[in-house]
Symmetry: C2
Subunit: 135 residues, 2 copies
DNA sequence: CAGTATCCTCAACGATACTG
DNA sequence: CAGTATCGTTGAGGATACTG
């Protein structure tokens, strides 16, 4: 994701915000969630992921996989064959994380319409403010 | 946040990944969560937020507030006094979101140690690979 | 007080040629 | 097949002077 840990020296209740940031720093990247979901179903190979995740570049797939592996969210298994075969599998920790994320999708589902409406209203307001004459 | 909506043209189950991204695009910013938490307790003024949230710049506070207001997560109330007084309050939608985030903090709390250990192990491994001689 | 306007930096991401 | 190595782009975020 985009930001570093600013939690040091934070006081009291900010602990909550920081804990959330910990998670976000881990899965906030553009592709992390997609990879975790794919690797949660069954072991997946590099090329399979590349095809399954629309729009991801080879470089970003590699980086995402390495970071997730480093955090213990993915297991990387190399079969020393020719040509090489590598499989990625989500760990239990990652599956748990995915389950927790369901709570968030519920929230999004419930409020998607309200948010869209709020945005439209806001944009309409500010557009009106930006157009002095309005005619 | 860093990334645009790539959900268009996505198929079947990727809907889940996209719904998560919707939330992340909204709250994934470096400061959004902190602002929501502060504004969930009670109405807060601009300067109060600036002091409460360690490290935030004036510019980012403004941007974060505007985005959250646009999405209907914050209410902005202006008291036409001199000097001006502006209060920000979290909406019910935002409080609900915050409640959902608790699930994530639980996950982080449970696995913080495991993640740290995994990272250290990974870094040690790759460091060893990078140091040919090792002595 | 509550912002806006400017300028700048840097890390995330994208594209793609090359390789064990 | 499963990557790595390079180069280029973009936008999030930071610092800060100025203003109604």
């Amino acid at each position: 994701m985009s930001q570093r840990n600013t939690c040091v020296s934070d006081q009291a209740m900010h602990a909550k915000a920081c804990t959330v940031r910990e998670v976000l720093d881990r899965v906030g990247g553009k592709w992390s969630i997609g990879v975790i979901i794919e690797a949660s179903r069954a072991p997946v190979r590099f090329t399979e992921l590349e095809r399954a995740i629309t729009g991801i570049s080879r470089r970003m797939l590699t980086l995402t996989l390495r970071n997730l592996e480093r955090d213990g969210l993915l297991t990387r298994t190399v079969y020393p064959t020719v040509p090489p075969k590598v499989e990625y599998t989500a760990t239990d920790m990652a599956r748990e994380l995915y389950d927790s994320l369901v709570t968030l999708t519920d929230w999004a589902d419930r409020h998607r319409a309200a948010i869209a409406a709020s945005r439209e209203a806001y944009d309409h307001r500010t557009a009106a403010a930006g157009t002095p004459g309005d005619r």
